[in-house]
Amino acid sequence: MIFGVPLIALASQLVLGLFNGAFYALLSLGLGVIFGLLRVVNFTHGAFYTLGAFAAFLLTSRAGLSFWACLIVAPLIVAVLAAILERGLLRKLYGLDALYGLLLTFGIALLIEGVLQYFYGTAGQPFAVPEALRGTSNLGFMFLPHYRAFAIGISLLLCLLTWLIIEYTSLGAKLRAATENSRLLEVFGVNVPVLLTGTYAFGGALAGFAGVVAAPVFQVSPLMGANLIIVVFAVVIIGGLGSITGAIVSGLMLGVLEAVAKVYWPPSANLVPFVIMAVVLFLRPRGLFGKGE
């Protein structure tokens, strides 16, 4: 017993918290990278997550692809859509007030959700857990569902890979440089427009990947992204806009804190992200990992 809660209940909630936190981390990472480079508050991010889940749903049910193939194909589809969106529409708004990008991406999110609702309604579509990951393991102090362990592991792996690329490769150095001063980087001969498209597509792919991983656990529904994205914005602000580490760490932290809140005082769980956001904004307006300018 820990503070009157059985260990097994607490441990299960912690796993659930890490599981939710992994989604927060994947989504806020993409959102943060996009904001850092494009200065666009990407409200389409939740819709990218939904699209990832729907792509997986359609690829498995209509095209007979396996879950594993979907993990690669669905994010690629979302990446292509994101690239088209950036090239065709978003690009025209660079240099204008950030509000225009926000409105455009918000409008596109509503459009995507509307189209999906028209065809699928608001009810969730079932999506099976892949066979290899069914079942649970008895760890002695708790039961660990295999799929949740897999989801946490692969999400963290992807976050780690992204972080390594940004911090330690020459492509990552160009991305960081473009975040600081992209005009000068262009003068040096770096094709910044392509870098921007690639970054937006990559952020979209991360969200799409999260959507595929989410599909077997949450049902595939047109509004799944809209429900999640508000919390993810809180995560980005808590971690500090544009901070990679901040997005990952605060994503996981928030998932766990939500879970703990659910154990001790269930009604508070939904409030936790926003209360923490308010406190962080009050004490550290640039977020926990944000750099002062």
């Binding site: 020459s170 150095a173 160009k174 440089a177 600081e180 000068l184 003068v187 001969g189």
Partner: protein, 234 residues
Amino acid sequence: MHEPLLRIENLQGWYGESHILHGVSLSVPRGQTVAILGRNGVGKTTTLRGIVGLLTRATGSIRINGTELIGMPRHRIAYTGIGYVPEERGIYASLSVQENLDLLPKISDRGISLERIFDLFPNLKERRRASGGTLSGGEQQMLSIARVLRAGPELLILDEPTEGLSPVFVQHIGRVLKALKEDGLTMLLVEQNFHFARHLADHFYLMEEGRVADHFSARELDARLETVSSLIGV
């Protein structure tokens, strides 16, 4: 007479709505160093920024090796052979010194090796792991020159390379630029420090109110010292 490496004709340039350049014409012969002199606000920096595509709007003609730069996408301009050292130095604070040195795409095989860079600027070798944001002004200027040399430019464009530097750094940068000149590198520089420019340049352009007021070779400089001094206020 050979075609100059860089030829600017009747360059008109705008920053936002303000019309700064009113028909600048100048040329930089291959292998030579050309200095643009003039008071603050006459359009020297704007001329350089016009060459690398950083103005809101530009008309006229800027040709390097016969290739027109006006209208060219900004990220292609470097590949015509231009290396740009901006007035504000443009060091990326979130990148290490080494990352700044490796940042620029190679634009030719003339790029200077890392060994030679560290030979020219020993300070950078010591500080290669430091973040760009922690460098002193002099170190930043060295890094700004060094990283662009690694890309292999044919024409080095320097905007106020000695501005705000201590005499030791000014001398050091002077020595390096002289060595590069002896290697045959073509340079176009804007410089407030007249004595610095005097020791380096083969040809001078004097700017006033967004256009070229006069130009003359280094040999003709002595005869005009008085007019030049009064015009740029040294």
